[in-house]
C-alpha cells in the first residue's frame, strides 16, 4: 500500500511517499512559514517523480497536531482535499508520536518536544526498545521546568527530539540531567515518520474518512493561558 505522509505542523514542511516499509520519495523544506505556497507543489513533485497518481494512494497520513495553528490547518485541509475525490482513507497522527519514529533504532527514552512559546513545550515521552515504541505520557503542554522534574526519574538515557529539543537540551546542566539531543538529520518532524506512524495507528485502530479528519490542538495549563497581568484585572 502506498502511503503519502504530510507534515506542516511547525516551521518545516515535508511530503513523503512510502510503500511496504520503504521510503520511495521525501521532500523536506525548512525556510520559514510559507506552507500554503509550498506544500501542494511538493506533493505534485513527489507524485510526479515517482510516477504515482492520487488514486494509487491507499492512505494519507498527516501530522494533525500539536503544533502551529495555521500550519496544522494547511496540512489537514490539503489532505482532506486530496482524499475526497477517491475516498482515500486518512489518518491524523500526533506530531510528537511521529517524531519517535525518527529514533526507532535507539534504546532510549525519547522526549519529543515542540516549542509552544512562553517557556512551554508540547511534549510526549516514549520508551523505545528493539524497534518498538511504548508511549509513557499523553501529548500535553508542559513547562520546561516541570518536564525536567519528570525526566530525572529515568535511568535510561534521554534523547530530545523536535524543534524544542535545543531549548530543552541547553538547560540540561541546570538540572543535572544526563540527556542527549537527536542529530540534525533526525531532529525535526518528517513526513516519512508521519507515514510510518500513520501506518502503525491504522493497523491498530483503522483509518478514518476525510470528513472526520480534524486538527488536534493542545491547550496549555490554566495558569499559562492567562493573557492579562493579574494587577490589570
Amino acid at each position: 500500500m502506498k502511503i503519502l505522509g504530510v507534515d506542516s505542523s511547525a516551521k518545516s514542511a515535508s511530503i513523503a511517499l512510502i510503500e511496504d516499509g520503504e521510503i520511495l520519495s521525501e521532500f523536506f523544506i525548512n525556510v520559514g512559514l510559507t506552507h500554503s505556497q509550498t506544500l501542494a507543489p511538493m506533493v505534485k513533485n513527489v507524485l510526479d517523480n515517482t510516477n504515482t497518481n492520487l488514486k494509487d494512494l491507499g492512505l494519507f497520513a498527516v501530522s494533525f497536531g500539536p503544533g502551529s495553528f495555521t500550519g496544522i490547518r494547511i496540512g489537514v485541509s490539503l489532505v482532506k482535499g486530496m482524499a475526497m475525490p477517491f475516498d482515500t482513507p486518512c489518518i491524523g497522527v500526533s506530531t510528537l508520536y511521529s517524531m519517535a519514529f525518527n529514533l526507532l533504532n535507539e534504546n532510549a527514552v525519547v522526549c519529543a518536544v515542540m516549542d509552544a512559546r512562553c517557556n512551554q513545550v508540547y511534549n510526549a515521552i516514549f520508551d523505545i526498545k528493539d524497534g518498538k515504541i511504548q508511549r509513557l505520557t499523553k501529548d500535553r503542554a508542559i513547562s520546561i521546568v516541570d518536564l525536567y522534574k519528570e525526566l530525572k526519574f529515568f535511568q535510561k538515557k534521554v534523547i530530545f527530539v523536535g524543534d524544542g529539543a535545543e531549548l530543552c537540551y541547553n538547560k540540561k546542566n541546570d538540572y543535572n540531567l544526563n540527556a542527549y539531543i537527536a542529530p540534525k538529520s533526525l531532529r525535526l518532524q518528517r513526513a516519512s515518520s508521519v507515514a510510518f506512524a500513520g501506518y502503525n495507528v491504522v493497523v491498530k485502530n483503522g483509518a478514518i474518512g476525510a470528513d472526520s479528519l480534524i486538527p488536534f490542538y493542545l491547550r496549555p495549563s490554566q495558569a499559562e493561558r492567562e493573557l492579562k497581568l493579574k494587577s490589570n484585572k
Binding site: G32, L33, S68, F69, T70, G71, A116, R117, C118, Y217, R219, P220, E224, R225, E226, L227, K228, L229, K230, N232
Partner: protein, 140 residues
C-alpha cells in the same frame, strides 16, 4: 525613556525614527486609550520601513500585513480575551517571522515576549499633546 509629541504628525515621525532601530523580528507592544495615537505611530513605523501599504487599525481583521523592508504584522488585540482567541489569530506563528506591532497589548500583557519593546502612550497637558514612554529600548 519618554518623548513628548505635540501632534499626530509628530507621533508619526517618532514611529519613523523608531523604525530605523529595528532589525526585523521585534515585537512592539502599544498601550494607550482610544485616540492616543497608536495607529499614527504604526503608520510612522511602516513608512520608516519603506512600506507603501495603507495603515489602518485592524479592529475587524485583527491583523493587517504590510510589506516593507521587513514584513510588518499589525495586530489589534481589543477583542482577544482568551488563549484560544489568541492562538487562532496565528499570533504564535507570526513571532520571529517579521515585526509585530500590537495595539491593545493590555489584553495579552502576561504572555508578551520578555524582550518586547513596550510603548505606553498617555495624554499630556494640551489637547493634542501625548507622552510616549518606552520600555525595552534605550534610545531611538
Amino acid at each position: 525613556m519618554e518623548i513628548i509629541s505635540l501632534s499626530c504628525k509628530e507621533t508619526e515621525m517618532i514611529g519613523k525614527k523608531l523604525a530605523g532601530n529595528l532589525s526585523g523580528t521585534e515585537v512592539i507592544a502599544l498601550f494607550g486609550n482610544l485616540g492616543a495615537g497608536k495607529t499614527s505611530l504604526v503608520r510612522g513605523i511602516a513608512l520608516g520601513l519603506n512600506s507603501e501599504d495603507d495603515v489602518t487599525s485592524p479592529t475587524f481583521s485583527i491583523v493587517n500585513e504590510y510589506m516593507g523592508k521587513y514584513p510588518i504584522y499589525h495586530f489589534d488585540m481589543y477583542r482577544i480575551n482568551t488563549y484560544e482567541d489568541l492562538y487562532s489569530t496565528g499570533y504564535f506563528d507570526y513571532l520571529d517571522n517579521g515585526i509585530l506591532i500590537i495595539e491593545w497589548s493590555e489584553n495579552i500583557e502576561a504572555i508578551l515576549p520578555e524582550d518586547a519593546i513596550k510603548i505606553f502612550i498617555r495624554y499630556g497637558k494640551g489637547e493634542s499633546e501625548r507622552i510616549l514612554r518606552f520600555e525595552g529600548i534605550d534610545e531611538i
